[in-house]
C-alpha cells in the first residue's frame, strides 16, 4: 500500500467516530421519522385477514361475511396480545369514536365462538352496520400511506378514494404553517435589524470594550431558555414592569394596560431576544475580518458614508447576513417552548402541534409528516440560498 493511501486511511480512522456519531444521532432518527410518516403497519399487522377481505369490497353494500368473521377473530386476538390499543387508536384518528367501538367489541367478542358474525357484531355495536367504520379500517390497513401528509396539509381521503379539503372548522395545520413561516421571517428581519449595528459596534470597537460587549451578548446566550422566557413574562404582562412604568408616567390609563404577552407580540419579542445571538455572532466574525482601510479608501475616493456602506461594507458582510438569517430562520420554525409559554392562543406555531402529537396524542405518523414538511421547507430555503448567494460564501463564524 502506498504512503498516501495509508495516510488517507489514518485520516478516515480519525473522523470515523464523528461520522458514526452523526449517523447514529442524526441521520438514523431523521430517516426513521421520514419512514414513520408514510409507513404505519399497525392495523395491517394486527388485522391482516380483515384487511384482505375488504380489498374486494365495493365500499357501499355491507362488507362480506368473511370480513365480519376475520374482524371478530382478529380483534379478540389483538386484545389478547395487547395490540388492540394501538389498532383502535389508529382507526380512531380516521374516524372519531371508533376507539371505543373497537375496544368494546373486542371485549364482548372474547366469549363468542360462532357466527353468523355479521349479526353478532352488529348486535354488539351499531357502528358495524355503518360502511364508514369499514372504510376507516380499510384506510388504516394500508401499510404505506399518504394519509399523514394529507392530514398535515388539512386534507383527507374520501371513501371513494378522492382527496378533499378538511371541513373549515378542522383546518389547522396549513394556517399554522403559514403563520410559522411569517413569524419566523419577521423574527429573522428583526434580528438582522437589531443585530447588525451591535455586531458592527463590537467588531470595530477597541479590544477591551469589544470583549465587554461580546460578553453582554454571550451571557444571555448562556442563560437558560426558561429563565429568559420567564423574565419576559415578568416584564411584559399586563401587571408587569413595563405596563407599571407606562401607567406611572401617565402614558396609559389603569384600564388601558397593553397586552404584550400571551399573544403574537409576546412570541415575537421573546423569540427575537432568544435568537439574537445567532445573528450577532456570525455577523461579528465576518465584520471583524473586513479591514478598516476599505471604508477609508471609499471615502477618500469621494463616496458619502451611505454610499461607502452600501457599496463597500454591506456586500462584504453578506456571507454573515446569510448565515445569521438562515440560522435564525431555521431555529425559529422549529421553536416550541417559548411560543408554548408566552404565545397564548394566537402565538402558537406548528412546532407546538408537533410536540402535541409526539407527547399527548401519540400520533407519531402525523408528527413525522409535519416534521417532514418542515424539513422540506428548510431544504428548499437552503437551495434558494445556494442559487442566490452561493453556499460556499456562507460563513458561520
Amino acid at each position: 500500500m502506498s504512503a498516501g493511501g495509508r495516510g488517507r486511511l489514518r485520516a478516515l480512522g480519525l473522523v470515523l467516530p464523528l461520522l458514526l456519531f452523526i449517523l447514529v444521532t442524526f441521520v438514523a432518527p431523521l430517516a426513521t421519522m421520514l419512514v414513520r410518516s408514510v409507513h404505519e403497519p399497525v392495523v395491517a399487522d394486527a388485522l391482516p385477514a380483515t384487511v384482505a377481505a375488504l380489498a374486494e369490497w365495493d365500499g357501499e353494500s355491507p362488507p362480506p361475511e368473511a370480513a365480519y368473521e376475520a374482524a371478530a377473530r382478529e380483534l379478540a386476538a389483538a386484545r389478547e396480545d395487547r395490540t388492540l390499543g394501538r389498532v383502535a387508536g389508529a382507526v380512531n384518528r380516521v374516524r372519531s369514536g371508533l376507539r371505543g367501538v373497537l375496544t368494546r367489541s373486542a371485549r364482548s367478542l372474547g366469549g363468542v365462538t360462532e357466527g353468523p358474525w355479521r349479526g353478532v357484531m352488529e348486535g354488539i355495536d351499531d357502528a358495524w352496520a355503518d360502511p364508514a367504520t369499514w372504510h376507516a379500517i380499510r384506510e388504516t390497513g394500508r401499510r404505506f400511506t399518504s394519509r399523514h401528509y394529507l392530514n398535515a396539509l388539512d386534507m383527507r381521503r374520501l371513501p371513494d378514494g378522492s382527496v378533499a379539503r378538511q371541513p373549515e372548522e378542522r383546518r389547522i395545520y396549513l394556517p399554522l404553517l403559514r403563520r410559522t413561516l411569517m413569524v419566523s421571517a419577521a423574527i429573522t428581519v428583526l434580528c438582522l435589524l437589531l443585530g447588525y449595528p451591535v455586531a458592527h459596534l463590537i467588531a470595530h470597537a477597541p479590544e477591551r470594550r469589544a470583549n465587554v460587549l461580546l460578553a453582554l451578548v454571550l451571557i444571555p446566550f448562556w442563560t437558560s431558555l426558561l429563565v429568559r422566557t420567564t423574565a419576559w413574562i415578568v416584564l411584559l404582562q399586563t401587571q408587569g414592569v413595563i405596563n407599571d412604568v407606562l401607567v406611572t408616567l401617565g402614558l396609559v390609563g389603569e384600564d388601558g394596560r397593553i397586552s404584550m404577552i400571551y399573544n403574537m407580540t409576546g412570541t415575537v419579542i421573546a423569540m427575537t431576544h432568544v435568537l439574537l445571538p445567532f445573528m450577532v455572532l456570525p455577523l461579528y466574525s465576518v465584520m471583524r475580518a473586513i479591514p478598516r482601510q476599505y471604508m477609508n479608501a471609499a471615502s477618500s475616493l469621494g463616496a458619502t458614508p451611505a454610499q461607502a456602506f452600501l457599496r463597500v461594507y454591506w456586500p462584504q458582510t453578506l456571507p454573515g447576513v446569510g448565515a445569521g438569517s438562515l440560522l435564525v430562520f431555521i431555529l425559529a420554525i422549529g421553536y416550541y417552548i417559548t411560543p408554548a409559554l408566552v404565545g397564548g392562543s394566537s402565538g402558537q406555531l406548528i412546532s407546538n402541534m408537533v410536540a402535541y402529537h409526539m407527547q399527548t396524542s401519540l400520533n407519531w405518523g402525523l408528527a413525522a409528516a409535519l416534521g417532514g414538511i418542515l424539513l422540506a421547507g428548510v431544504l428548499v430555503l437552503y437551495l434558494v440560498y445556494d442559487r442566490l448567494v452561493g453556499v460556499e460564501r456562507l460563513s458561520l463564524g
Partner: protein, 366 residues
C-alpha cells in the same frame, strides 16, 4: 442511604419483609425508579411514600419527573430499554397504556386490605381501579380567584366564571379542550349528570364552543400547572382554572390570598402503573403495593390536598404536616366540596380527544 444502614434494619421488620416477598439481600441491592409529577405533589410523594418505603424495605427509590402522557413509556418499551418502573398516571393514560401493552396488568387481589380489613377491591373507589392502574389520589380541576383583587361580590358558582358582566377581567384557562368544554356546558345550565351525554351530540359540542366563545377574548391560556397560581398572584387574571393542589400549595406555603370555588369541580383519579416488561418487576410491584396502602395515601394527603383513592385512607388524613391546619375542608373528595362535582369521563375523552384537540386548536387560532 448507604449499604451499612441496611444491615441494621430491625430484625422483626426484616423478617416481615422476607416473609412478605423476596429475600432481603436481593431487595437491598436493588432500586426502583418512580416517575411522578414533580413540584409540591412530587415532594409530598417523596416524604409520604418514597422515604418510608426505603426505610422499611431498604430499596432505593430513584425519582424522575414528567408531564404526563405515554410518549416516554412507549419509546422505552419500543426500544426495549426500560428505565422507568412505576409511573404516576392519569386514568385516561393508564387505560390507553394498558390497551397498547405498555403497562403491566395488576391483580387487585394481591393488594393488601384496608386498615379496617376491607378487601382492596372494595376499599378503592370504583373509578380508581383499572386493569393496569391502581388508584393513588383524587385531584380536581377547579377555578380560583385572588381575594385581594376581587372587590365587592365574590364568585361562587361555575356560571360566575363565564359571567363577564358581574365579574369583569381576564380568566386563565388551560390550553386543552378537556375540562373547558365541561365547564362551559355546566355554566350554560346543562345538569351536572348529563354533561357528557350533551357533549356526545354535535349540538352539545357546538353549545360548549359557543359558551367558550363568549369569554374567548378575555382568556389567558396556560400550559403548565405552575402558571395559574402565579398569574393569580400577579393580578394577570382575576380568576383561573387550576389543579386544586397547586392552589392549595400557594395558600398554605406562600400565604397567597387565593380562594377555590368548588362548584362544578371536575374530579379525576391518578393511578400508579408498572411499565410492561421492566426488569425490576419484583421491586416495582412492592413499591406499588406500598404506595397504594391507605397509610401511604394519607401521608400524601396530609402534605397536599389530594384525597386518598382508598376509602379507608380519608379517615387517616387529619392535619397538614407543616401548618397543622385541618385538611378536610381542602380535600376535593370531601362531601361538602364534592356536592356539585363532575367525574372526569376519560372513556369519552379517549374516543374524542384527537378530534376535539384539532377542533379546539382551530377554534383558538381563529
Amino acid at each position: 442511604m448507604t449499604t451499612a444502614t441496611h444491615r441494621f434494619i430491625p430484625p422483626a421488620l426484616a423478617l416481615a419483609v422476607v416473609a412478605a416477598t423476596s429475600p432481603l439481600d436481593t431487595a437491598a441491592a436493588q432500586a426502583v425508579t418512580a416517575v411522578g409529577w414533580g413540584g409540591a405533589y412530587g415532594r409530598a410523594v417523596q416524604m409520604g411514600v418514597n422515604k418510608p418505603f426505603t426505610a422499611e424495605t431498604g430499596i432505593r427509590v430513584t425519582v424522575e419527573d414528567y408531564n404526563g402522557g405515554l410518549a416516554q413509556i412507549r419509546a422505552q418499551v419500543e426500544a426495549d430499554n426500560i428505565q422507568w418502573d412505576v409511573v404516576d398516571l392519569e386514568m385516561a393514560d393508564a387505560v390507553r397504556g394498558c390497551d397498547e401493552g405498555l403497562l403491566e396488568p395488576i391483580d387487585i387481589a394481591t393488594l393488601p386490605p384496608g386498615p379496617d380489613g376491607t378487601p382492596a377491591a372494595e376499599d378503592f373507589v370504583a373509578e380508581g381501579l383499572s386493569e393496569c392502574g391502581v388508584g393513588l389520589i383524587y385531584w380536581s380541576t377547579v377555578y380560583a380567584y385572588n381575594a385581594e383583587n376581587m372587590e365587592g361580590a365574590k364568585p361562587t358558582t361555575i356560571a360566575d366564571f363565564f359571567d363577564l358582566e358581574t365579574f369583569p377581567g381576564r380568566r386563565g384557562m388551560r390550553r386543552i379542550p378537556q375540562a373547558n368544554l365541561e365547564f362551559a356546558l355546566m355554566a350554560d345550565g346543562v345538569p351536572l349528570d348529563s354533561i357528557y351525554a350533551a357533549l356526545d351530540t354535535p349540538e352539545g359540542l357546538d353549545r360548549a364552543f359557543r359558551k367558550l366563545e363568549t369569554i374567548k377574548d378575555q382568556v389567558v391560556w396556560w400550559e403548565a400547572g405552575a402558571q395559574p397560581p402565579q398569574m393569580l398572584a400577579d393580578g394577570e387574571v382575576v380568576m383561573s382554572t387550576a389543579f386544586n393542589g397547586r392552589i392549595f400549595n400557594a395558600q398554605m406555603l406562600e400565604a397567597q390570598p387565593l380562594v377555590i370555588v368548588w362548584d362544578g369541580q371536575l374530579l379525576d383519579v391518578n393511578v400508579l402503573g408498572i411499565v410492561a416488561g421492566t426488569p425490576r418487576m419484583e421491586v416495582a410491584k412492592r413499591y406499588l403495593t406500598f404506595a397504594t396502602t391507605a397509610e401511604a395515601q394519607a401521608r400524601i394527603g396530609s402534605r397536599i390536598s389530594y384525597s386518598p383513592a382508598r376509602r379507608s385512607g380519608s379517615a387517616l388524613v387529619t392535619t397538614h404536616v407543616v401548618t397543622g391546619l385541618d385538611m378536610a375542608s381542602h380535600m376535593p373528595a370531601n362531601p361538602d366540596n364534592a356536592a356539585r362535582s363532575v367525574r372526569y369521563d376519560w372513556l369519552w375523552w379517549a374516543d374524542n380527544q384527537d378530534e376535539l384537540m384539532v377542533r379546539f386548536s382551530a377554534w383558538l387560532a381563529r
